[in-house]
Amino acid sequence: MIVRQSMGFWLGCLLASAVSSMADCPVALFKKGVELAERGRTTEALQVFREVTAKDSTCLEGWNNRAALEAATGDMFGSQRSLSKALNVRRDVQSVASNLEKLRSRMARLAYDSAFGTPSKLPPLQLALHKEIAKPSKSNPSVDADSLVRALSNARQEIAELTKVRDSLLSSGRLAQLETGAESARSLSTAPPPPPPPAKSPASQATQTLPPPAPPPPTPPPPPPREPVKERSQEMSALETVRAWANAWSSQNVDAYLGFYGSTFEAPDRMSRQSWEARRRERILAPKAIHVEVVSPQVRSLGPDRAEVVYKQVYQTEDARLVLRKRIVLTKEGKEWKIVSEREAR
């Protein structure tokens, strides 16, 4: 029993951290934005950096790049706002300050042109992009969401192992021994043979910040030996997909919206895919405007190519407001995440 309780507590801590740490600069999305920008796909890149900054309002590089793209599309006020957001994160970043200076000079030029009625054709303003997200500073250690998610899935394995151990202990009548914490911890930690974690792995850093559970916890589970960047991009794009799906819904872009559903998606009420799509189209286009918000999403990996996103869905039209807890399951189809199940969460 104690084993189960303590693990539950620990699991809860992990989950909580995993969710709160979703607000880190989403690296994969960021890189996608840089790539789009470098290929001159300004509008798409801008959309990506809007998402980046929406996810993490403290992502200085995201704000800077968003500003650069806003300037390139002629949205000077937007660019000005974004740069000042970047400077709110940190004042002393030279490249951001120099972008702001360039932007002000251009805006001054435009203002004078308006003042003197001498419009001039100027090339789009080019502000410097940040190609990389700077490493978080030591004073502000950021929790790595994906490592935590990995740790979480390892923890689940561990629970399974522990449960087995407990059951075998129970059956062998050694429960009393188990109830002395220290010993149980020692004996339990030896039960599964996890590989030793790398000394400075984000997961271990993160877990150090957790409050110590009442009974001694097992040693933090190590991340599996996978390539971290790949893992990260997979995890992030599942949530990104859900957000993009909600955006398509909000903008009543039915084709884009339907495009998020996988080939194996099961339409509710045994409807055919075709009639379900027709009904969705009708429903989505009926209101004058729709606003769908994805609130406090929790991402869970269900395997290498399968993930679950549970979130609070706030759906609003001019005459209706509906708040639901939703659970969406996505699988990888090629490089993209597709929705295979969408239902109300319990």
Binding site: M107, A108, R109, A111, Y112, S114, F116, G117
Partner: protein, 400 residues
């Protein structure tokens, strides 16, 4: 940051906003939410060395009124000042001849907020505006301001004021093409709406009756003096920009035009306004009104010496001077056994740009032993050695 502030204040000190430094006690009170008040608040933030706030206000101003050229210029200056790259008003464009004009616009617009129109005073011109007029417009050329007076409970009081542009070369029009705005008392004779109007004149135009009989007497030439709006790409023009017309921002003339009554609303074009207590204007009014009444009495007496004593040596009517006119009058009077003159509907306004000259209009009911007629008459009275004398006379409403 420090350096850029100093530079901003340097630009302020160049004359555009010299009040900014001088008027620390003069709290800028800006009540309404007009583009001008936003501009003033922007400059107020510059004074407070809050460039960030100034930029914020300027952002909202140019978003709302992108064609407000002065606002754009100030915004350009703020941005360059933030970069520490502003050395003078209009920065890199300071040599543009338009920069001076915009600087003037800044000066007069700000002047209005530093020196607010005196409370409970009226321009000395307003002796007795027409009974049937609800509005009097008084333009102060020096301040680039149109003051709107409305009658409330029988009293004339200030109802609002608006930035205006006048002729490129200032007030006192005297010849065709001199690009000056007349000084005097005028009225709107017609209305030209947008459909018939060159876009250059904005949303609506009201031609004035320049030259009037006083202008003609003085040999002033020219025509086509209007009150009108601005082209679409221009919120306001510099203080001195027109060919002589009085130019209001479109949104101002749009709201004002419901007050404009053709042939009825006096439009006083002044170089500057002397504000006086209504009591002072009223005492002048009473003295002048007594003089007018005495003139009718003396005319009714058919005693030509008494009657002619009201006329100035400088009197003229049409081509006639006093001597020729006097001869005619005496001859006519000799043929009459009695005369009875009554006047009603008297209006009296001091004429801007003239010393102690009043324009007086009334309905004249003239009856005599051998002739009677009714007419609307206009006279110009001047205070000469302490008494009011008639210097010009003629039928009213035939000036345009």
């Amino acid at each position: 940051m420090r350096r850029s502030f100093r530079r901003t204040l340097f630009f302020a000190g160049l004359g555009c906003v010299s009040w900014v430094l001088a008027s620390d006690q003069n709290r800028v009170a800006v009540a309404s939410d007009t583009p001008e008040s936003l501009l003033v608040r922007t400059l107020d933030a510059i004074r407070a060395e809050r460039l960030d706030l100034a930029l914020e206000r300027s952002d909202s101003l140019v978003t709302r009124q992108p064609n407000f050229r002065l606002a754009q210029l100030v915004r350009g200056d703020i941005l360059l000042a933030q970069n520490g790259r502003l050395d003078k008003f209009a920065g890199p464009r300071s040599k543009d001849p338009k920069a001076q004009a915009l600087q003037d616009e800044a000066r007069v617009r700000l002047g209005r907020y530093v020196q607010t129109p005196p409370k409970n005073k009226i321009p000395r011109f307003l002796l007795q505006p027409p009974q049937d007029a609800s509005t009097v417009l008084v333009v102060d050329s020096r301040a680039s301001r149109m003051f709107v007076f409305r009658k409330k409970d029988g009293q004339w009081s200030l109802d609002g004021d608006h930035y205006v542009s006048i002729g490129l070369n200032g007030p006192l029009k005297s010849s065709e093409g001199d690009q000056r705005t007349p000084l005097g008392v005028y009225t709107m004779v017609s209305r030209i709406d947008k459909a018939q109007l060159d876009p250059y004149y904005g949303n609506v135009a009201y031609p004035l009756d320049y030259p009037n009989d006083w202008d003609r007497r003085l040999g002033r030439k020219g025509h086509g003096i209007w009150v009108h709006g601005t082209p679409r790409d221009t919120y306001s023009r510099p203080p001195r920009a027109s060919n002589g017309c009085v130019v209001l921002p479109n949104q101002d003339i749009d709201t004002l035009q419901k007050l404009f009554e053709l042939g009825r609303t006096p439009v006083l074009l002044a170089d500057s306004i002397e504000w006086v207590d209504p009591a002072q204007a009223d005492s002048t009014r009473q003295v002048l009104l007594r003089a007018v009444r005495k003139w009718t009495e003396d005319w009714s007496s058919n005693d030509m010496d008494r009657y002619l004593s009201h006329y100035s040596d400088d009197f003229r009517m049409g081509d006639q001077d006093l001597e020729g006119w006097e001869k005619d009058k005496r001859r006519v009077a000799a043929g009459k056994s009695w005369v009875k003159v009554a006047v009603s509907g008297v209006t009296m306004l001091m004429v801007p740009g003239e010393k102690d000259l009043a324009v007086v209009e009334f309905d004249q009911d003239y009856q005599s032993s051998n002739l009677s007629n009714q007419m609307r008459k206009r006279q110009y009275w001047r205070l000469e050695d302490g008494s009011w004398k008639i210097v010009h006379e003629g039928p009213a409403g035939k000036s345009g």
